[in-house]
Point group: D2
Chain length 383, copies 4
Amino acid sequence: MELLEKYLLTRKASEQLCAPLAIEDYVPQPAEFVSPPKWNLGHTTWFFEEIVLSRCIKNYKTYHPKFSYIFNSYYQALGERAKRAQRGDLSRPTVEEVYSYRKYVDDHICQLLTDTELDEETESLLEIGINHEQQHQELFYTDLKYTFSLNPLIPVYAEKAYCEDIALGDSSFLDFDAGLYEVGYKGTGFAYDNESPRHRVHLNAYNIASKLVTNQEYLEFVESGGYENSSYWHDEAWTWLTTNTITAPVYWQKQGEKWYQYTLAGLRELQSDAPCTHVSYFEAYAFAQWRGMRLPTEFEWEVAADMINWGQRWEWTESAYLPYPGYTKFDGALGEYNGKFMVNQKVLRGSSVVTPKGHERKTYRNFFHPHMPYQFNGIRLAK
Amino acid sequence: MELLEKYLLTRKASEQLCAPLAIEDYVPQPAEFVSPPKWNLGHTTWFFEEIVLSRCIKNYKTYHPKFSYIFNSYYQALGERAKRAQRGDLSRPTVEEVYSYRKYVDDHICQLLTDTELDEETESLLEIGINHEQQHQELFYTDLKYTFSLNPLIPVYAEKAYCEDIALGDSSFLDFDAGLYEVGYKGTGFAYDNESPRHRVHLNAYNIASKLVTNQEYLEFVESGGYENSSYWHDEAWTWLTTNTITAPVYWQKQGEKWYQYTLAGLRELQSDAPCTHVSYFEAYAFAQWRGMRLPTEFEWEVAADMINWGQRWEWTESAYLPYPGYTKFDGALGEYNGKFMVNQKVLRGSSVVTPKGHERKTYRNFFHPHMPYQFNGIRLAK
Amino acid sequence: MELLEKYLLTRKASEQLCAPLAIEDYVPQPAEFVSPPKWNLGHTTWFFEEIVLSRCIKNYKTYHPKFSYIFNSYYQALGERAKRAQRGDLSRPTVEEVYSYRKYVDDHICQLLTDTELDEETESLLEIGINHEQQHQELFYTDLKYTFSLNPLIPVYAEKAYCEDIALGDSSFLDFDAGLYEVGYKGTGFAYDNESPRHRVHLNAYNIASKLVTNQEYLEFVESGGYENSSYWHDEAWTWLTTNTITAPVYWQKQGEKWYQYTLAGLRELQSDAPCTHVSYFEAYAFAQWRGMRLPTEFEWEVAADMINWGQRWEWTESAYLPYPGYTKFDGALGEYNGKFMVNQKVLRGSSVVTPKGHERKTYRNFFHPHMPYQFNGIRLAK
Amino acid sequence: MELLEKYLLTRKASEQLCAPLAIEDYVPQPAEFVSPPKWNLGHTTWFFEEIVLSRCIKNYKTYHPKFSYIFNSYYQALGERAKRAQRGDLSRPTVEEVYSYRKYVDDHICQLLTDTELDEETESLLEIGINHEQQHQELFYTDLKYTFSLNPLIPVYAEKAYCEDIALGDSSFLDFDAGLYEVGYKGTGFAYDNESPRHRVHLNAYNIASKLVTNQEYLEFVESGGYENSSYWHDEAWTWLTTNTITAPVYWQKQGEKWYQYTLAGLRELQSDAPCTHVSYFEAYAFAQWRGMRLPTEFEWEVAADMINWGQRWEWTESAYLPYPGYTKFDGALGEYNGKFMVNQKVLRGSSVVTPKGHERKTYRNFFHPHMPYQFNGIRLAK
């Protein structure tokens, strides 16, 4: 696919995701980790303006002098920015203005790609911008789900958003031998800096499940008192769980004798054979302990990736998010894209039902803090 | 004026205030004390539904079963309600739905007043509901001002909102003799429970300023180091000021050598001869200390009310908000309207440029915590 | 009594209070409002050094250059000081050093009073210092009680500390007529600045109880669900109560069917006919509401003082702590003694079983925040 | 050495560390991570009582029924315990009582070891108890140093505690080849569960410094603006640094032109050629970034351990604290010793000047949160 076509499809996809929204839905930010849809649309646009247009077009005039302040997420090198927790406090720019902003930037990108022979660096920056916007498409789902889940009116994003409920078949354990393996990105397409360099690791022999843990399996953990027994949990997990009175996965609730989960299609009865979703690493680890097993490391996962079924849920691994041997950051401000987060986070592998098609990759390293359950995360066991 | 006419005019006025807003402006709540415009419109409507319609109309069907949960402010007796700090997290109901809700309730009130001979109690409840909505009209201005003031785009509510900048003439001190005075509401019109019973107080001889303190006078306090000298301030005020790094009134800012203040017409140069606005009691007290004077008590103010110029700013008094001797709360759930707030708050007297016409009264007792500067508050000196 | 004798008796009394302590008991500060005994002993000594010795003795050499930093409580005018919350973090100076400090200052005061004819101002400062130390003697009891109450070993301060358990006889209501009364300090002895000027107040006719509320009466409130019914409580009280899960007075606990209270003589069964103790203003107010009565104002109390039985518990009044008309602060740094606390606090009148003899006065105005139950506070009803 | 002898020497060593203390020094806990000396002495004693005496002696009578509540640190399986942050609030038991407690337990252990042929499990538990007490000996130093450092009197623990100031010679880089290495504990002596199983890892070729970073080197980082340039720091580090206004290592301070550091011998001028001490992982990482290098992984360190100079400072590694492949926890309550902390922490290798002799081991894995600088931590560079 041509770069311009890819660009335009990605940009269009972000807007299509917003089609079912009311104007009011673009605004709230009920927790610091949530970005309002309006902010997501503006931020991804600012990203292209900042890393491509401002550098490639001589005397480029930004759409609005304050938008960099409003839509910069965390790039220290790119100047002052609004506090993250206050994104939901800003009613302006309006949604309409944000769409104008998108059009303005899209027009300039189109013109740039039409008029100019792009050098390799600019192409690479555009690729990053496209991948960056895809990541925010996934975040759009997870953030909106969180916001809607708090609303007493239980809003429905889309009646057909049943993608969460794909039944799994039976699982078995696959065996892998001890030995030296190569891991990390190999190829000529796009990959993030954190997937390189490709390098050797030694793995002990291991077994890894062919399928994800189901709601039914996780429910047994819940109902057998798993959330009341500290022996399954990390010390920090136990503090998190008791401080926040957590007794089940975040979107689960019991009404009478039945369990329900909040989904983007509303509150629905828990599907026994669907993959368990929206658990934190703390919960994934505790579940594995309860089963007398463990989570795979990210390298065990990567080595097994071709033989297992993946893509429904991001899969927590036991691996901490750390640089590969010889890791080099992206150049310039994009050096802040991944490297500065390599502490206190856990790696997730795979992808999820809300990951944009084509964005997934078996060397992809997603990462979140161990207490965060808001992505479409699941559990795969190893031993 | 007929009660129905008064009702309809008041209801209409609330909606007219919102005319300049974008849909997005109805949503954010950047601080716990702020209510989003959407919530204000819904809450005042719920108030009529709850205290009038549900009681007067047999088998009255509420507009929506969850709206009581969403729009109840603080009435414990009226059931569970959403957390105050989370009003801005709710994108639903949409603005359009809230207007439908208003129409539904207005239609029922009209029908009730047309079809029925109201008893005295219902009339009285309607009066309270109308006064309640007027209070929220004033809160609309103060809350929106706060929200807009945080926005880097510096939104303008209305270009003509220069009402804040009314110049004051020269001030002088009026003398009052020591003696017994009567204070509290007397008459047959509407008044809140906290203005009664009318009772006697003994006042020492006192002097009270004929005009409010101006921006120029307050600026002298600021520039003479008033915010750096603890001797003018209460102990709690000093903690508040140092913890929050407060160095001037909340909406003031200095750019180069000039002082500006954020107004509903945007950021404007400070008008020297306009009344000082948006100070907390802590600031009003410290200013008076610096001038070697004091604030009047609420009874000194009330006794002098006919001879001074008032109505531009709510005026902080030295009086704590306490019940009058023999105070009796409103009946039922409305007993929570005033009485339960009679601790840790200071009385403000008068009214302000954003108080709805006809809502002001010389026995009126407004009240806020001493650190809150967000109303259109000013300072009158006494000695 | 001679001033020197009074000084020495007061100083000795502070040390006698500490006789039952282990060295370790002088150190901890389990809450910000608590002062460790060691700090109390040092602070009262610093007070004399700072306000008397440093001013009256030429070239006075302070005992230690850092002690002013460590033992200054809240006097901004007297320089930098350690953070209040960190008093319990300091193991040094040792208890022995603090006693040496006391001796050093006492020796200088003795010499000063022996060698010099004191001027009136110095006499007055000494009087304040003595009264100040008496206040800290009372705080010693209340702070130690709090600290010990948290200890799982339930320490006993003194087996004979049963002073808390004085039985009350029957109570009746005394009638007072409406009229003008004079209140405030009159006389030539010592009084704090906040008790003056004497001035007139008008009171409506009122009734006031001859005795304090007993444990038995308060227990009925507790057991009838008083802590679960928001209608008796201020809005801030309800937040305080629910946030902190408060279900009874602070030192009460139920074991099986019986109620106990922690006392300085250990955990003891609740004495039905003893005065209820250690309630906050919030609780006193709620109790009065439940009984369909109210608390007296401080002036109603003062007018009635000669005819009621007082001195067992500090008595919460309905009055906010505010300056009297024409109030003038003490001069200099002592201007911070009282005036800067005149916001957000309630007046307590009377005195308690742990108030040093001779320190009580019927015009005395004690004051605490409405949520603080740690003094030996009780309840007197009015209507 | 016989087990009994080792036991007695270890127990005695803990008490000798306390010889320079005043009674008051045993009490304060200025931060949650600090344990008061009194608590350390009691906790290590409780550990032996709980894991050895209560299990090996039939009808063993504990010294005091509440001591388990007071001295249990974090063992959920061993029952309720006092809140960690409140250890400094407890003046009782007194220091004297704690020493009696130690004697009581020592006597019983002696008798047990004299009278009985110990089985292997009991011997192993005693070994753990001895190693556990040694760990607390090191914590004694780090906690006391923190507490004393906050005291305006700048207490001296021991004039001769200059152990911190050992000069380093020149450093060079040692080369290691890529390849498969074995890491983890091998042998028959005592080792913690987290050092096993021994297993293979593949390392890329690397260079590691022969010596630790000196104060002089770190000072250059500080003075070149290292703490003001976000590009060297992790995102969480930058938040930590700006929130806490951190501008140099925790015990450093500048007076005029000179740098000082607080040591257990008091405030002393910074020694240029001594190893840099008391840096957090965040600081160690930022320093390495500034130098264009990195920290070693724990396995790079272990492989190099025989060829480098170690033992002056604990050395931060880039490795997260995770279980080794096939890791098995200790049995029973001791399963909580290490495993439950394997998240969000970084591994430190080596040992420090305050590590008890004989406690160090080249496979030893110490671990702390990345923001914690309070151990005697230093930096070794790799590339």
